[in-house]
């Protein structure tokens, strides 16, 4: 079960922040230094623009929309950082910790944009797309027809309604996980756990029906 593993990593111990991180923290604690706040916002905005640009190839967004997302992400990350400043434990540079907030903000805003742009309702589940989702050529799809049919049968017969809904949305319809989490009013972690259990059930079904050998990677 993800996140509940007995091999779960220990949290890093709180350590004394390096000199640069200490200067950031001191400048952002009340009474805040406007110069430090401005400097941090500039860093966040630069990181947000870079991140939005990195993801832009997979988005149907134009320049001004991309920049708008970057500004919103930097602004919201700034607020979150100031709110959670006391949770910084010095186990990384302050800037790396701060960048994490802006990366997560970009993720969330890009996910919301998926639904803004999904101006037509998603098609009903279409199992023919399963082969496409895994990049199977027509020849490979024909050779793997039994396997693909077994996966479909496992989804239909073995999964709970919730697991089936999540599997179909993520795998068949190709909905981004963060976008689906927003639509289902849940979070990425909960969806991942749902999919983790679904994947395990499907694989067990494939093993039980001779499509996969127990204990093999395939």
């Amino acid at each position: 079960m993800p996140g509940l593993s007995s091999t779960r990593e220990l949290a890093p111990a709180t350590v004394t922040p390096d000199a640069s991180s200490t200067r950031w923290i001191d400048g952002l604690r009340p009474p805040r230094s406007p110069q430090v706040e401005t400097r941090l916002y500039e860093l966040l905005l630069r990181a947000a623009r870079s991140e939005v640009g990195r993801r832009a190839g997979r988005l149907r967004l134009a320049g001004p929309e991309l920049d708008d997302i970057a500004h919103q992400a930097a602004h919201d990350a700034m607020l979150a950082i100031l709110r959670k400043l006391d949770t910084f434990r010095g186990e990384s540079r302050f800037t790396t910790w701060a960048y994490k907030f802006v990366i997560f903000e970009v993720s969330g805003k890009v996910a919301r944009h998926f639904w803004f742009r999904a101006d037509e309702p998603l098609e009903a589940e279409h199992w023919g797309r399963l082969a496409d989702r895994f990049g199977l050529s027509p020849e490979e799809a024909a050779e793997s027809a039994d396997l693909l049919a077994a996966v479909r049968r496992a989804v239909e017969e073995e999964l709970t309604e919730r697991q089936r809904e999540v599997f179909v949305a993520l795998v068949i319809d190709g909905v981004p996980a963060d976008a689906l989490a927003q639509r289902l009013d849940t979070n990425r972690n909960a969806l991942y756990k749902t999919m983790f259990d679904a994947r395990r059930k499907i694989r067990r079904f494939l093993v039980a029906h001779g499509h996969v050998s127990q204990g093999t990677g395939g």
Binding site: P2, S5, E9, E51, T96, L136, Y192, M195
Partner: protein, 74 residues
């Protein structure tokens, strides 16, 4: 939830690993993991569950790449 190419990848996608740390734990420690990578350390030995998770979760892997770029050398 990850990039996929071919029937073997379908089977790999269905394979689960009990060491998987999950999204919540990975997001909590992502900045530490990234610094470990940037320092040239072996994050897999220190954070095996996160390494497993990043191999299996497209959105977390995407965030990891973004943070690695942001925090990396310019």
């Amino acid at each position: 939830m990850t990039g996929r190419h071919g029937p073997d990848d379908l089977l790999r996608f269905l394979q689960t690993d009990d060491r998987d740390a999950g999204c919540e734990r990975t997001m909590e420690l992502l900045h530490v993991y990234v610094e470990s990578v940037l320092a040239g350390e072996d994050p897999e030995s220190r954070f095996p569950g996160i390494t497993v998770h990043l191999r299996n979760c497209g959105p977390c892997e995407e965030d990891f790449q973004g943070l690695l770029t942001a925090a990396g050398p310019r």
